[in-house]
Symmetry: C2
Subunit: 242 residues, 2 copies
């Protein structure tokens, strides 16, 4: 089941067996890629969308001096560029962070889904809007938190997302990226990321070394980050679903 992590812990139960079968059968190809490959460039016409099965990916934009700003980090189960289907061309680049396994869905198949499966369509739409909600939280993080809060927030978010697809136990998880990547996600230099990580380590909040994260004091970490996972639309946070 290639789509087993798609919307896992995110109203996946609203998908019927038929919906899932339709989605599964619209996959044209599964392929592996190495770390740090750019798969899509901004402005290109895109004709398929990418479901991330395993590994980490990111989306980013570069400024005039070539400084990079990540706008999203993706984990297993994410439909990384589903928004490319209605948009037809993207406003940013898409790249792998680690080695990945990807499944591709041609946009022709998505057109059929929109024509024939309103329920699945609404839920695919929903999944692209979770990404938008995460974008908003990133805006908040960059606009209102200092470096300490921004880094803490990044780890809260990635942990919550990895937990939802069972890649983190909430205390410990692999995250094979470097301090510079972290800086590019949080709008700061690698040097300053290093100082912040030292502070978090010395205060016993969390550690990040050799691509391994350990969360030691979740309460403190979440307070530093002003973290509230509502914006991730995970099942447990939805008080009166219906």
């Amino acid at each position: 089941m290639l789509t087993k992590d798609f919307l896992r812990d995110r109203h996946r139960s609203e998908l019927t067996k038929d919906d899932i079968a339709a989605l599964e059968s619209s996959i044209s190809e599964v392929k592996d890629y190495g770390a740090r490959e750019t798969l899509i460039r901004a402005g290109e016409r895109v004709r398929q969308s990418t479901l991330l099965l395993e590994g980490l990916m990111c989306r980013y934009m570069d400024d005039r001096q070539g400084e990079r700003q990540l706008v999203a980090v993706h984990v297993a189960g994410d439909f990384v560029d589903l928004h490319g289907f209605p948009l037809r061309r993207l406003d940013h680049d898409v790249a792998t962070l680690t080695e990945v396994r990807l499944a591709f869905v041609p946009h022709g198949k998505l057109l059929e889904i929109v024509a024939e499966r309103p329920n699945l369509t609404r839920i695919l739409w929903f999944s692209t809007l979770i990404d938008a909600a995460m974008h908003r939280e990133w805006i908040f993080r960059l606009g209102r938190l200092n470096a300490y809060g921004r880094i803490a927030h990044f780890f809260c978010e990635i942990d919550a997302k990895l937990q939802a697809v069972n890649r983190s136990d909430g205390h410990h998880f692999p995250l094979p990226i470097n301090q510079n990547d972290l800086g590019e996600a949080c709008g700061m230099t690698g040097v300053h990321v290093n100082r912040i990580l030292r502070q978090l380590r010395e205060e016993g909040v969390m550690t990040f070394r050799g691509g391994e994260v350990a969360i030691l004091d979740r309460k403190r970490l979440e307070r530093i980050a002003e973290f509230d996972p509502h914006y991730l639309y995970l099942d447990e946070n939805d008080p009166d679903r219906n």
Copy 2:
């Protein structure tokens, strides 16, 4: 025609007459509101979506100390909280900035559209993804530009959006908000906004006084902002549409 500004200059031509009629007839109510009213609070269950017919609105999140971060500013023609339809509850507040005229569309009608009108559905989906693209550009702006660039970028964006719905001639337009609002949009204090505005004024790039914007040197303004309107998905920027 209440929906005349919806997606104006943004692939609106892909909507059939029938689609437009269906959308128009799904409007349940038109209502006016005053400036600075919060219409939707984060977490509420939403059962209708809001089309902005005239005026300015914003979406925002507050941090723990009550400091506000805007995550979007909306102009006439924007379907402000269409994302509330698939999401069902929002992760942020929605408020008016100026006096506004609004049209409401019940989510029940949107369900019918999704069931019966695949083309309109795909285009409604598209419209919510333009908002996501603007979020990404805001992330870039906050993460990689300094105060000078961020303010310049804000004005480039709002001008481009207002031009698309014919509320700006590209040189001069009303923008009845204050310097503090600008700060909340650009992640800085009102005091510093004031310094930057003075600088832009003294350098002959643009002015912003009494709710009126004048763009004096567009080339310079766009260079300062590193502005490229591709992310707005306006018609003139789409080299080979179809």
